[in-house]
C-alpha cells in the first residue's frame, strides 16, 4: 500500500520532468542548448491557463500551451541561428522574458500578479490515487512523448539528420541536409514537449501561479545531461529525481529527522549520481556552437 502510494506520487512528480526532458533531448541533440526549457514550461502553463479559462476546455488549454511553447522555441531558434546570439545568454534572456510576460498578462487579463482564477482540468483527473493518475491524459502524453522522441531519433531519417547536425553540422550540410530547417523543426518540437510539462502543472493545480514551474525546467535539463542525451537513460534520470523528491516528502511526515536534512536528499542524490555513477558525459559535439553553417 505504501509502496503503491510511493510509486504513484513518483510518477505524478515525474511527468513534468519527462515532458520537459523529452524536449531537452530534442533540442540538445540538434545542437542547441536547452536552457530555455524552464521558459517553455512556464509559457506552456500560462497558455494552458488562458486557453482553458477562455474556452472552458482543458484540451483547448493544452493546445494553446503547446502553441506558446512552440512560439518561444522559434524565437530562441531564430535568435541563436539567424542572429547567432550566444545560446546561454539568449536562453537566460528568454527565461526571464517569460517570467515578465506571464506576470504582465496575468495582471492585464486577471487583475492579479500572483495567480489566475480557477480553471477546468481534465474530468476524473483529481485526487492522489492510482485511478486519478491513469485517467489523466497528460500522464499518457508524457509516457508516449518519450517513446516518440526515442523512436524519432533512432528510427527515422529526420532523427538521423538531427543527430548529424548536433555532431557536425558542416558535414551534414555537405551531404545536402538543410541544417537550419531541421534545427527549427527540432527546437519547435522541443518547445511543444516542454510546454506540455507546464500544461500538466497548470491543469493539475487548476490555476496558473506566478513562476509556478519553480526550476523544474532546469531539473529536466539536468536529467537530460545526467541521461547522456539518450532518451531511455534520460527517462530513468527523471524517474530517479522524482523518486528522490517523493522520498523527501514521505520522510518528512515521520518527524524524527530535521526537515532541512530531509529536504537536502534530492540534491545530494543528484551530486552523488552525477559524480559517481554516470561517468563522463559527452555532449553532442556541436552543442552551443555559434559559428554554424
Amino acid at each position: 500500500m505504501i509502496a503503491l502510494a510511493f510509486i504513484v506520487q513518483t510518477l505524478r512528480i515525474a511527468i513534468p520532468y519527462l515532458l520537459a526532458a523529452a524536449g531537452g533531448v530534442m533540442s540538445e541533440r540538434a545542437g542547441l542548448i536547452a536552457l530555455t526549457l524552464e521558459g517553455y514550461m512556464l509559457g506552456g502553463a500560462f497558455g494552458a491557463a488562458v486557453g482553458a479559462l477562455t474556452t472552458g476546455s482543458p484540451t483547448v488549454g493544452a493546445i494553446c500551451g503547446m502553441v506558446a511553447g512552440a512560439l518561444l522555441a522559434l524565437l530562441y531558434a531564430a535568435a541563436s541561428m539567424k542572429f547567432r546570439a550566444n545560446q546561454v545568454v539568449t536562453g537566460v534572456a528568454i527565461n526571464l522574458l517569460v517570467i515578465g510576460l506571464t506576470r504582465f498578462f496575468l495582471r492585464l487579463l486577471y487583475d492579479s500578479s500572483s495567480n489566475s482564477p480557477r480553471l477546468p482540468g481534465f474530468r476524473g483527473a483529481t485526487g492522489s490515487g492510482f485511478g486519478a493518475l491513469v485517467t489523466n491524459p497528460l500522464v499518457w502524453v508524457g509516457v508516449v512523448a518519450f517513446a516518440f522522441v526515442g523512436w524519432l531519433l533512432a528510427r527515422t531519417a529526420f532523427g538521423l539528420r538531427v543527430r548529424a547536425i548536433g555532431e557536425h553540422p558542416e558535414a551534414a550540410a555537405s551531404v545536402g541536409v538543410n541544417v537550419e530547417r531541421t534545427r527549427y523543426i527540432a527546437v519547435a518540437l522541443s518547445g511543444v514537449l516542454a510546454a506540455l510539462g507546464g500544461v500538466y502543472l497548470a491543469l493539475d493545480q487548476h490555476q496558473f501561479t506566478d513562476q509556478m514551474t519553480a526550476g523544474r525546467g532546469f531539473i529536466a535539463l539536468a536529467a537530460t545531461i545526467f541521461g547522456r542525451w539518450e532518451p531511455k537513460r534520460v527517462a530513468v534520470a527523471c524517474l530517479l529525481f522524482a523518486a528522490a523528491e517523493t522520498l523527501q516528502i514521505q520522510l518528512q511526515g515521520t518527524q524524527h529527522i530535521p526537515s532541512q536534512f530531509v529536504e537536502m536528499i534530492p540534491y545530494v542524490l543528484t551530486i552523488v549520481a552525477l559524480a559517481g555513477v554516470v561517468g563522463r558525459a559527452v555532449p553532442p559535439a556541436a552543442l552551443g556552437r555559434e559559428e554554424q553553417v
Binding site: S114, S128, Q205, D210, G253, Q255
Partner: protein, 340 residues
C-alpha cells in the same frame, strides 16, 4: 569579422538606451520623493514584492493607511540584499523622514546601526526583538495566540485523529506558531497526532500540493498551512479530497478557497503600522519592543463564515472562551514572535 563589429556596436547602443531609461526612471522616482513638502513623512522597506497579498502586501496596505488616516506623505522601496538595507535606511534618515519601517526580522541589525546617526528618525524593524533608545524599536506579533485557537478547532473536529502543519521553510517564528497550534489541538484532544512538513520554499504550489497529498494519505484531515504562494497548492490538494480542511495564514484567506478554508490565522499589519505611526506623530513614541498580541486585536483567528455550519456550536464556544482568556491575560500559550 565585419558582422561581429556591427553586432557589438548595436549592442552598445542598446545598452546605452537601457542605461538612459533606467537613469530617467531613477531620477523620476527620486524627484517625486524629494518633491514632497515637509510634514509627517513615513517610509517602508520590504524584502519582497508588495503584490504578494500577504507579508509584503499587508505592509504596503499599512503604509497607505498611514497616508490616508494621518495625512502622511509616504515612500516605499523594495530591497533584496542586506547591503542595501543600511543604505536605504540612511537615505530616508538624511531626507528627514519621521518614521521608517524595515519589514522583517532581517532589517533589525541595519536599523540598530543606522539609528544613532539619525536620532530624529524613528526606525522600526517589524518582528525585530530588540530596541535602542531613543529611536529604534522592534515590533513583535503574538501569532501563537490565534494559532492556538486554530489548533482547538482542528483538535476538536478531526475525524481521523490526525492533523498536520505545513510550512514554507522552517523559520523559528513559523515553527513557534506551529507548536502553538499543536498545543491548542492537544488541549482539547490529548491523543491527536500532529504531522509536520516543510516545502523548502514559499512559492512552488505544485510541491505544496504534493506535500499536502502525502499528509492527507497519512490520515491528516485538518492542515494548518503557512506557505504564502505555495499554499495555493495545499488548498488544491484539500479540494481533491473529501472532508479535508485547511487553515489560511497571515492574511484572511477565507475567500481564496471558501470551500476548504475553515478559518484564517490573520495578522492585521495595517492596524499594527497605524498604531505605531500614530504614536510617533503624536510624539508619544518611546523606543521599546512593541508587543502586539490578541489583546491589541492585531492578530486574530477569523473563522470562514461559508463553513460555519460544519463547526459544532461547542467548538465555537470553546474558541470564544479561550480567546477571552487570552485577551484578559489569564491564559498564556507561550512563545511570542512573528510569522516571517
Amino acid at each position: 569579422m565585419h558582422r561581429r563589429t556591427t553586432t557589438l556596436a548595436r549592442g552598445r547602443r542598446a545598452l546605452g538606451t537601457i542605461a538612459a531609461v533606467v537613469l530617467a526612471t531613477i531620477a523620476g522616482c527620486t524627484g517625486r520623493d524629494s518633491a514632497k513638502p515637509a510634514g509627517f513623512r513615513v517610509a517602508l522597506l520590504t524584502p519582497g514584492p508588495i503584490s504578494d497579498r500577504s507579508w509584503n502586501g499587508g505592509a504596503y496596505d499599512g503604509l497607505l493607511r498611514i497616508r490616508d488616516s494621518l495625512g502622511a506623505s509616504v515612500s516605499h522601496i523594495q530591497t533584496k540584499t542586506p547591503g542595501e538595507f543600511e543604505e536605504n535606511f540612511r537615505q530616508y534618515g538624511a531626507q528627514g523622514y519621521d518614521l521608517v519601517f524595515g519589514h522583517g526580522f532581517e532589517f533589525q541589525d541595519a536599523a540598530l546601526r543606522v539609528g544613532p546617526e539619525f536620532p530624529k528618525t524613528v526606525y522600526i524593524a517589524t518582528s525585530g526583538d530588540r530596541a535602542s533608545s531613543p529611536n529604534v524599536a522592534g515590533m513583535v506579533f503574538g501569532f501563537e495566540d490565534p494559532s492556538y485557537l486554530a489548533g482547538i478547532v482542528a483538535g476538536s473536529m478531526t475525524k481521523t485523529g490526525t492533523i498536520a502543519v505545513l510550512g514554507g521553510t522552517e523559520l523559528p517564528p513559523v515553527k513557534s506558531s506551529f507548536d502553538a497550534f499543536a498545543r491548542g489541538a492537544r488541549s482539547v484532544n490529548p491523543k491527536v497526532r500532529v504531522l509536520s512538513s516543510f516545502i523548502g520554499n514559499w512559492d512552488d504550489a505544485a510541491a505544496g500540493k504534493e506535500q499536502a497529498l502525502a499528509q492527507i494519505s497519512q490520515g491528516a484531515d485538518f492542515i494548518f498551512q503557512n506557505a504564502d504562494a505555495a499554499g495555493l497548492g495545499i488548498f488544491q490538494a484539500a479540494r481533491e479530497r473529501k472532508g479535508v480542511y485547511v487553515f489560511g495564514s497571515n492574511s484572511n484567506q477565507n475567500g481564496v478557497a471558501p470551500d476548504v478554508v475553515i478559518g484564517s490565522v490573520v495578522i492585521d499589519l495595517p492596524h499594527a503600522f497605524l498604531t505605531v505611526a500614530r504614536e510617533v506623530k503624536e510624539k508619544r513614541f518611546t523606543a521599546r519592543v512593541i508587543h502586539l498580541g490578541t489583546a491589541s486585536q492585531v492578530v486574530t483567528y477569523v473563522p470562514n463564515p461559508a463553513l460555519d455550519s460544519i463547526v459544532p456550536p461547542q467548538v465555537r464556544a470553546a474558541v470564544d472562551s479561550v480567546r477571552a482568556r487570552l485577551v484578559a491575560g489569564t491564559l498564556s500559550v507561550g512563545g511570542d514572535s512573528t510569522p516571517r
